[in-house]
Amino acid sequence: MNLGTLSIRSLLSRRWTVILTIFSIAVSVLLVLGVDRLRHDARSSFANTVSGTDLIVGARTGSVQLLLYSVFRIGNATSNISWKSHADFAADRRVAWTIPLALGDSHRGYRVLGTTSSYFEHYRYADGRRLGMADGKPFDDLFDVVVGAEVADALGYTVGSDLVIEHGLGGGINKHDNLPFAVSGILARTGTPVDRTIHVSLAALEAIHIDFGPAKRAAGRELDADGLRTLELKPRSITAYMVGLKSKTSIFSLQRDINNYRGEALMAILPGVAMHELWSTVSVAETALRAVSVCVLVSAFLGMMTMLLAGLNERRREMAILRAVGAGPRHIALLLVIEASALSAAGAGLGLAAVTVIYALLADWIGATYGLFLSRIAPTPTEWLLVAGAIIGGALAGLVPALRAARQSLADGLIVGK
């Protein structure tokens, strides 16, 4: 029998309060670790949205705004850029490829993106992964549509489904319902905004709008689908384009050239830099979430302190007996510190186990549902460190009841409750 076993036996004799205390510590450790993991995964998932693109070019605006609408499909461009300027830079000898992006229309709440086959060839996400087709093929016909995985799931589209593209961002006033768009392919899930996007060719976007333009008057008649197919539809403007370079070393020279382009006000941004800028604006929420989870942990330790302190009065007899067999006040204090450490170790261990198990069980589901890919299942060194910190914190919290018990046992001596 030593102090360690003695304190464990003592804890076991108070099973229910001990179990509740361990649970409250476990839950808060789960929260701290869970928030940390989600934060990490949200961040890497965010950073994974676009990869391999050296520059994003759009009309002159804020770099975060350009990033938001071109990559995240959030918000709108203040103005478009001309196809001519895109063609100028696409032909630049430093440029390997470009992906034109034309936004502005929507379909049942999902954004419609006009682009070219270059999109399926060059778009990269998450460390250079290519877009894959879950079903069907990229667009070929003028009225072919390629939908993201989430769109297909949410709207129940399969290859061959008909759909109607709306002009503007919904509302359904100007439905181009005379044009027979059909799903030609469904993209594999990426966990990026691509999943929520409907892709059509740039020519198709022109076809949608030709109705409203002077072409209709020029033609003097309502154009039908086959009539449109015969027309040579050339895009006049796009919203933005992504640029891949032959050599990374020319990033800044090309960026400078684009920013100084005389034809119109263009802006080229480095996606990584803009991402960082964007993330730092949301990091306030991240910090707040973290602070809350740490507060919960602190309150769990306060709960443990309360439990140990409340138990001391009932245990005066126990302490007097220990004093009688030769325990000093420091042994009594040590006993309480061991109890606090054992409680926090059990709680922290349980919390870590819980976060690991929950992650392992939910990783697939979260990936499929939210497109948030949970990267690591096994605890990382940082997490072990966090757990060690929680145990040390618990032991320190145990110092308060420990000192109180030592003082009480010193005052009581051997004579208690006589």
């Binding site: 029998m1 076991l12 126990e318 007996i321 067999v325 030769g326 325990a327 000093g328």
Partner: protein, 235 residues
């Protein structure tokens, strides 16, 4: 000499009235002594001093030929662990330990006791032997929960704990007051025999007159501590 006290004075607060004022007290090794006296006569304070929990404000206290004043508080705790067994009036046992574990608890804080118990055939073995000699068969009682025992049985477990590892001195504070007459006699008989077997000095503090016949030495606190009780200033 198991206990030697010279001109001892003890008060709760400096400058306050003396609680103990004992000119002289000597208890020989191996003696069995009953200290009697009404409540308020300073028995508890004397017990705290004899067990090394507190030090007197002045005067000499030697326990088992060790001057208590030369020891720090921690050293006195260690000294108690090594050399003194204590039996309380009641609630002697830790409820979450078994009978045998309660007996062996006395070895937790003292390597010396562990060694002596090991020398006497092993810690568990000595615990079982002591329980047997106190009328508690280890096979029946050893692994029982202590709250399944009667108060008389609990007191005997406490006696076994006081004696394991052969301490030089056993101090019992009203050990029989919670027992009925029959249990009282057998308890004192068993404890005094066990102490004789181990060669331990036994000091029992009690106001129970029924215990008088069992002790050859009796000390009355009212006469031992007369000066403090009469309120005379200490010279």
């Amino acid at each position: 000499m198991a206990v030697r006290i010279d001109n001892l004075a003890f008060r709760w607060s400096p400058g306050g009235p003396a609680v103990l004022d004992i000119p002289e007290l000597e208890i020989a090794d191996g003696a069995q002594v009953l200290i009697t006296g009404p409540s308020g006569s300073g028995k508890t304070s004397l017990l705290n001093i004899l067990s090394g929990i507190t030090l007197p404000n002045s005067g000499n206290v030697e326990i088992l030929n060790t001057d208590m004043r030369t020891l720090s508080a921690a050293a006195r705790d260690a000294f108690r662990a090594d050399h003194i067994g204590v039996i309380f009036q009641m609630f002697n046992l830790i409820p979450y330990l078994s009978v045998t574990e309660n007996v062996m608890l006395a070895c937790t804080f003292s390597a010396a006791r562990r060694d002596r118990a090991a020398g006497a055939g092993g810690i568990t073995e000595q615990a079982h032997r002591l329980l047997t000699s106190l009328g508690l068969a280890p096979d029946t009682f050893g692994s029982r929960r202590v709250d399944a025992l009667s108060i008389g049985q609990q007191q005997r477990v406490a006696a076994a704990r006081a004696l394991i590892g052969n301490p030089g001195l056993v101090i019992a504070d009203e050990p029989t007051s919670a027992l009925d007459a029959a249990n009282r006699q057998s308890f004192i008989d068993l404890v005094s025999n066990a102490c004789r077997d181990c060669g331990a000095t036994l000091i029992v503090v009690s106001h129970d007159e029924a215990l008088f016949p069992f002790f050859d030495h009796r000390i009355d606190m009212t006469s031992l501590n007369a000066r403090a009780l009469s309120g005379e200033p200490i010279s």
